[in-house]
Amino acid sequence: MKPVKLALAGLAAVALLAGCGNDTTPNPMAAAVGAVAKTGMAKLKGQSAEAAPAAQPASPEALRAELAQAGQPILLVSSKALGQTGFLTVSDAKGGVLTWATPDGATFSQRDGVLIQTRGLGFDLMSAQAPSVGQLRQVGTSYQRVYFFLGPDDQGTRRTYDCVTSSLGAERIEVLGRAHATTRLTETCTRSSGGGKVTNEFWIEGAMIRQSRQWVSGGLGHIDFARVID
């Protein structure tokens, strides 16, 4: 079995060993480890370590006070699937779109709190035709939602859904030690063709989305967002 082993070892060796030089290509082994470590939301950890030292068992109120000192809006992002949580700051604001960034290069773009793009996560949402907050609040009227992705072969794909929201009534929620009176909406989207269903949850306070659980992509599932500091 020696030849087979050599072939396999060879394939692996090429992929894993890096060599050296000043050529611009990165170290594939480091990259491999990095890919595993970083795939998806692991990136957020860097943020949480910076903005809110994880080791420090602070009370939510203390944490909020600390965050407020930065004097800028803060978004709490967490992914159950990847077990990551982080506090994000705004890296770009224009035309009603806020882009929230982690320091090591993942971003979430939201139009009035509705997620329309992500970058740097691998299974990114490339763009979206998404409802406005006003649309979400019109309970019972249906509309179309379109998600645009890059397939695993890097070709563009789209998924079109017919959506409708329903109200679950008033709900009092707590975001990092502060209570908010919200209306809870569920957005239910069914695939126009090919089956499949997506649900998003929104907790709306006045005219803004205070908290949400929004679907990102098949690879990442849902991500939770909460506006901690306006």
């Binding site: 079995m1 020696k2 030849p3 087979v4 050599l6 072939a7 396999l8 070892a9 060879g10 394939l11 692996a12 060796a13 090429v14 992929a15 894993l16 060599g19 030089g21 000043n22 050529d23 611009t24 290509t25 990165p26 594939p28 990259a31 491999a32 990095g34 890919a35 970083k38 795939t39 890296s91 224009k94 035309g95 779109v97 882009t99 960034a101 090591d104 290069g105 993942a106 971003t107 139009r111 329309i116 793009q117 740097g120 996560l121 691998g122 299974f123 990114d124 490339m126 763009s127 645009f148 890059l150 397939g151 695993p152 072969d153 890097d154 070709q155 563009g156 789209r158 098949g218 690879g219």
Partner: protein, 695 residues
């Protein structure tokens, strides 16, 4: 195997994250031949489109290693390396390479079964030759029943007569054995698959292969019964194992690595998010920002160029030069890392939105390959600003972007010799495979020096570390332009593989040229000139190449004393992009041994960089002179590292396999042939993964 299991673990982790569709439709499974089938018999099924597999099977003293690729939904092919241990009491082991083709004539319908016609070992010495027609029908989601009729080996037991006449003996030279196909005794075979659950499958079959070679002739395998039984375990989408009882006497094991070039293991590329496009102030609000007066400031150019270079360096993009007017900027970039041309262009456009004054409305981005502009992508800044957060922004931007001929660099452009390293070197481990399981592992030290735009001095030295290559002595009657390869590997250690000076240029619109001089490859040295015509939006390209070369000594040094062989070779080539990733190429000309003929090759390329293809060369060298195999042919593949790693890298693994190496139909192996490097930035290269422009 520690490293390989780590790689596989990585792959497996990747899939865990992908929401892989359930295998509800029960695609075909692989058999001991690495082909779609039962245990030792084929079936009417096919693999999912583009599936690539590497299979190893042990059947007593017989080992079969097979690479298979589902080239399209219906067509698939295999390259197999088979060894028989203790084949001959004197000569010892025997090995043989074979090529299969299968075509699924009928896809399974509600009533109709899947029907496949296959040719196994269609061009070899015939040790493994057979042809078959197999039909497979699925019942429910658990059971598959296969029945078929085989010829050749697959018609050697339980024959029912010879419907298409008698089978002539194999031409020992193994040109396609077309006069044998479907001739001679035909015999039925049949089998059953039962899928216990997603992971486990049971199989049973009735084989029509008498194993005449292994049993009657050589006594290697005793065939007591035509019935085979087995169990298979699907460990992950990437791995499948099988254990079988064969012919009442043997145990067999199979291991398959199954890869899907369409799916990157980590989903999308995991590189860092791009910087947001920088919005300009509204013209009405700040008309002064739009004033073009900055153009006349003497230090504007160097500052802009420096700022841009700094931003782009993060993405491994170097600025070759920058030219601007008050409303247009042209930047020439060299993309060193990002595997998708569209993404490199998107990153450059974003950086320009930060660097250029508001009066600049038109961004012209010229990707430069080997010192020559490959194309010019023109993006309006206001489109970039308007579409950044728009739904389906990739399609909308593409409609507004033009891709045109690069044209010459503007005369007033600002180059900067300090902006990128002119000297690059690397020391890397390399695997050189001469067979799926045979080759050597070593270290390659390579260096490049960019003397001036388009002028590159490069060289490499290779030192072997370990090898399982078998010593072979050429018996070729032609000039030994290739068949002494083993000697070169053995005697030239370490060897100067290459030492060349190359000059790349764009002599006119849509024309590209290359001139390489020096030690072009490990066996030949000389001069190679190439001219390519390829308009940016054309599916067709035409090229011509002329070379003069002398054969090098086998010791890997600089000398030419050993062979006293020199020759002028050359080709005219046509390249055609058939769409959906299928590329064809035809080369007609004179080959290294002085033979004249043509090469046809077909490749399937994927947007993420995977490439799988096959080639065949027929020249006026007779089959006798060529030796075993009759003519040159083989398969080739490129596996990009970014597919497995999910990060930006342009590197990959290139492999070529030939069932029989000969001296006929051989071409110089020159680096940086023009078509592939230019095509990446033409519309047919940019459009398949254009969406990455926003990544």
């Amino acid at each position: 195997m520690q490293p390989s299991s780590r790689l596989l673990a990585l792959l497996a982790l990747g899939t865990a994250l992908v929401s892989a569709p359930a295998l509800a439709e029960m695609p075909g499974t692989l058999n001991l031949n690495g082909a779609t089938g039962l245990i030792d018999m084929p079936s009417g099924d096919a693999q999912r489109d583009a599936t690539f597999s590497f299979s190893t099977a042990l059947i007593g003293p017989v080992t079969r290693s097979t690479l298979s690729f589902q080239f399209s939904e219906r067509l698939s092919g295999s390259f197999r390396f088979q060894t028989w241990r203790d084949f001959d009491p004197v000569a010892g082991d025997e090995s043989d390479r074979s090529i299969d083709l299968r075509y699924q004539v009928l896809k399974e319908g509600r009533i109709a079964p899947a029907l496949t016609i296959g040719l196994q070992d269609l061009t070899g010495r015939g040790l493994y030759s057979s042809e078959y027609v197999a039909a497979t029908k699925t019942f429910g989601d658990k059971v598959k029943v296969t029945a078929g009729l085989g010829w050749g080996r697959l018609g050697s037991d339980g024959g029912i007569g010879s419907p298409f006449g008698s089978r002539p003996p194999v031409d020992p030279l193994g040109v396609p054995n077309a006069d044998q196909w479907f001739r001679g005794e035909a015999a039925p075979f049949a089998g059953l698959e039962y899928r216990v659950n997603d992971d486990w499958t049971l199989k049973a079959e009735y084989s029509s292969d008498a194993y005449v070679l292994e049993d009657a002739e050589r006594g290697l395998i005793q065939r007591d019964s035509p019935f085979n039984f087995g169990v298979e375990y699907q460990r992950s989408p990437y791995m499948r194992f099988g254990a079988y009882s064969l012919y009442g006497s043997e145990l067999a094991l199979a291991f398959h690595i199954i890869l899907d070039p369409k799916s990157r293991a980590t989903g999308g590329i995991v590189g860092k998010a791009p910087v947001p496009v920088k919005a300009r102030p509204a013209r009405a609000a700040d008309p002064e920002a739009y004033d073009g007066g900055w153009v006349s400031q003497p230090d504007a150019g160097p500052i802009l160029r420096q700022n841009l270079a700094k931003r782009l360096a993060r993405d491994g993009i170097a600025v070759e030069n920058l030219a601007y007017t008050a409303d247009t900027v042209q930047v020439r970039i060299r993309n060193g890392r990002i595997d998708a041309g569209s993404q490199a262009i998107g990153r450059t456009a974003r950086a320009l939105s930060h660097v250029m004054p508001a009066s600049v409305e038109v961004f012209e981005i010229v990707p430069v390959v080997n010192g020559i502009g490959a194309s010019k992508v023109t993006i309006r800044r206001s489109d970039l600003e308007a579409l950044e957060y728009t739904a389906d922004n990739a399609t909308l931007l593409r409609e507004r972007v033009t891709v045109t001929d690069a044209g010459p660099a503007p005369a007033w452009s600002l180059g900067d010799e300090e902006l990128y390293p002119k000297f690059r070197w690397s020391l890397r481990p390399v695997v050189r495979l001469s067979e799926p399981m045979e080759g050597d592992v070593g270290l390659r030290l390579s260096a490049n020096y960019d003397m001036a735009p388009g002028w590159v001095l490069s060289g490499s030295i290779y030192k072997e570390i370990a090898s399982n290559r078998e010593t072979s002595v050429s018996t070729s009657t032609l000039p030994r332009v290739r068949t002494d390869g083993a000697r070169y590997s053995e005697l030239g250690d370490p060897a100067l593989e290459k030492l060349t000076l190359a000059w790349f240029a764009r002599p006119a619109d849509s024309f590209y040229s290359r001139l390489s001089v020096g030690y072009l490859e490990r066996m030949h040295a000389g001069v190679s000139g190439e001219l390519l015509w390829k308009p940016v939006d054309s599916q067709l390209a035409l090229g011509a190449e002329v070379n003069y070369s002398r054969q090098r000594d086998t010791d890997g040094g600089l000398g030419f004393g050993e062979y006293d062989y020199d020759i002028v070779t050359g080709h005219v080539s046509a390249y055609y992009d058939f769409g959906n990733g299928y590329l064809g190429q035809l080369d007609v000309g004179r080959y290294l041994a002085g033979d004249v003929g043509a090469t046809v090759s077909v490749d399937r390329v994927f947007a993420n960089g995977w490439r799988v293809g096959a080639f065949a060369t027929v020249t006026d060298v007779s089959a006798e002179d060529f030796g075993e195999g009759g003519f040159d042919k083989g398969v080739r593949l490129t596996i990009p590292f970014n597919w497995a790693l999910g990060t930006d890298t342009r590197r990959g693994l290139d492999l070529n396999f030939r069932p029989n190496g000969g001296d006929g139909g051989a071409r110089l192996s020159v680096d940086d042939r023009l078509y592939q490097s230019i095509r990446e930035y033409h519309t047919d290269g940019l459009d398949p993964d254009w969406g990455r422009v926003w990544r």
